[in-house]
């Protein structure tokens, strides 16, 4: 039997980890949903967000300002890559975007090594306070991470459902040609989506930086889990990505409490199981044409 205190902290740990997975995966999911591209470069913005947070918080001692700057830089990086690279490959096969974006990720890791070096960097946790939850002390910072992910989910939901640009993006995930045929500049939608995706990936990196050691490979380290979250949730589905991220977070966290190697294995087993039952993922629709 697992100790109740251990279980509570395991659940909170899993939720915070799932929150980070959600923020990282949502960009990948949005980009696939609308543009039918696999944007692995999102993991680069995740690392950039963490490094900018590290640099700013080391310089002026304010983590939140660091995260904010990271978000801005992540959004700008997403914008630049979309304009310079993806704009030229939208019409090509999906594998082309996967290989190209993986190249950007690897190249970006090299740039990070050049700027910040190879040594992992620690970022201090801004809030050391613990909060008592069901008799167990849990770090307040992890609760804030969960809260921010919930707010982002609500914000994305409102954006997609209450704004005309969001509605156009939702329509585009069904049939982008049909949206264009109405007279809507879909390339502007693509750019907006990339900026949002880059900013959210960077937010994930910034928020996660005090919970891990910031190192150049950090994007590559979460690549498999991020990809898994998107696939389990259903490509292009925000709700699916959210639920899947929390599920994977719990499986990793609670799995490690039961038997440590489970933490790495169990999410893949869950993914296989879900894909066997529902090949399009939890909330994925049939793959639609671009």
């Amino acid at each position: 039997m697992i100790d109740a205190h251990l279980l509570v902290s395991g659940i909170i740990f899993g939720l915070s980890m799932g929150s980070i997975y959600f923020l990282t995966a949502i960009g990948l999911s949005l980009c696939f949903g609308l543009m039918r591209v696999i944007s692995l470069d999102q993991l680069l913005y995740y690392a950039i967000g963490a490094y900018i947070t590290y640099s700013i918080s080391a310089a002026i001692g304010n983590l939140w300002l660091g995260i904010l700057c990271g978000v801005v830089v992540g959004g700008l990086a997403g914008f630049a890559v979309e304009r310079l690279v993806f704009l030229r490959i939208y019409e090509k096969d999906i594998t082309f975007s996967m290989i190209t974006s993986f190249g950007i990720l690897i190249g970006g890791v090299g740039v990070i090594k050049f700027i910040w070096g190879l040594v992992p960097r620690p970022v201090p946790v801004p809030i050391e306070t613990q909060l008592n939850v069901l008799g167990t002390d849990v770090p307040v910072y992890r609760l804030i991470v969960i809260l921010i992910a919930l707010l982002v989910y609500a914000g994305i939901w409102l954006f997609l459902n209450r704004t005309i640009i969001g509605k156009a993006i939702r329509a585009g995930t069904e049939d982008v040609e049909n949206v264009e045929g109405l007279g809507i500049n879909v390339y502007r939608l693509f750019t907006i989506t990339f900026i949002i995706a880059g900013a959210l990936s960077a937010l994930a990196g910034g928020l996660n930086s005090p919970l891990i050691m910031v190192d150049p490979q950090m994007g590559l380290e979460v690549l498999a889990f991020t990809f898994m979250v998107v696939i389990i949730g259903g490509l292009g589905s925000i709700k699916g990505t959210f639920i899947s991220a929390l599920l994977v977070g719990q499986v990793v966290s609670l799995g490690s409490l039961i038997y440590a190697p489970l933490a790495q294995m169990a999410p893949f087993a869950i993914m296989l199981l879900i894909l066997l039952i529902k090949p399009t993922g939890l909330y994925g629709s049939q793959l639609l044409k671009r």
């Binding site: 005309i164 040609e177 045929g181 109405l182």
Partner: protein, 230 residues
């Protein structure tokens, strides 16, 4: 080519990779006309509409509207110039409500006068908050047409509008197309020959990417005449 022609297609050739689909297509439509393209599946009818709209790039030939070339322009620019495409298979945005579908049509054209849509299709009024994915085939087609006529397009490209619809809906659409032709020029790809013959001012018969016949005389436009080319 007359500059008052709403649509002029001249010497159009289109290929999908190595496979040539359209061969030297010539077609024109004047203001207020209903022009129908008939032909078997695979004749190149949809390819023709998609090329006019800017979704496909021709290998040769010209497409002009009121003397302005449409070739090389993105589809959203062509749409902004007053050319709207209503695709086949009733492709509404199924996850969006009827209202949201119309909002997108309005957003693109800045035309928020939905009365003209509900005048043609009163039924849509009661369906505003229903997800388009739950509409019947006929209701979807009404929504597609309603969404496209926002912004008062000068040219409507309509792809297989009556496919799979009940006769009563087809009869309703026939009246709607007639009314629409007083404001827009229509190019309709259709296999329903009685409908084509009832509304078309001109018929182009396509076969394997070639225009086999151009029937411009109302007397010629009869189901038995058109059927020869199918």
């Amino acid at each position: 080519m007359k500059s008052d022609d709403i649509l002029t297609v001249a010497g159009l050739n289109v290929s999908y990779g190595e496979s040539k689909v359209l061969f030297n297509i010539n077609l024109n439509a004047s203001s207020g006309q209903i022009v129908a393209c008939v032909g078997r599946n695979g004749a190149g009818k949809t390819t023709l509409l998609k090329t006019i709209m800017g979704f496909l790039k021709p290998t040769a030939g010209t497409v002009t509207s009121n003397g302005t070339s449409l070739i090389g322009r993105a589809a959203y620019v062509v749409a902004a110039m007053g050319v709207k495409y209503i695709p086949q298979d009733k492709k509404v945005f199924s996850d969006l409500t009827v209202r949201e579908n119309l909002e997108l049509g309005s957003y693109a054209t800045r035309d928020y006068d939905w009365d003209k849509v509900t005048t043609y299709f009163p039924k849509l009024k009661q369906l505003m908050d229903r997800k388009a994915g739950y509409l019947s085939g006929g209701e979807r087609q009404m929504l597609m047409i309603g969404r496209a006529i926002l912004g008062n397009p000068k040219l409507l490209l309509v792809d297989e509008p009556t496919e799979g619809l009940a006769p009563s809906i087809v009869a309703q659409l026939k009246d709607v197309f007639r009314e629409l032709s007083s404001k827009s020029t229509l190019v309709i790809v259709e296999q329903n020959l009685p409908l084509v013959c009832a509304i078309a001012d001109k018929v182009y018969a396509l076969n394997e990417g070639h225009v086999m016949a151009e029937l411009a005389d109302r007397e010629q436009i009869k189901p038995e005449t058109c059927e020869q080319y199918l």
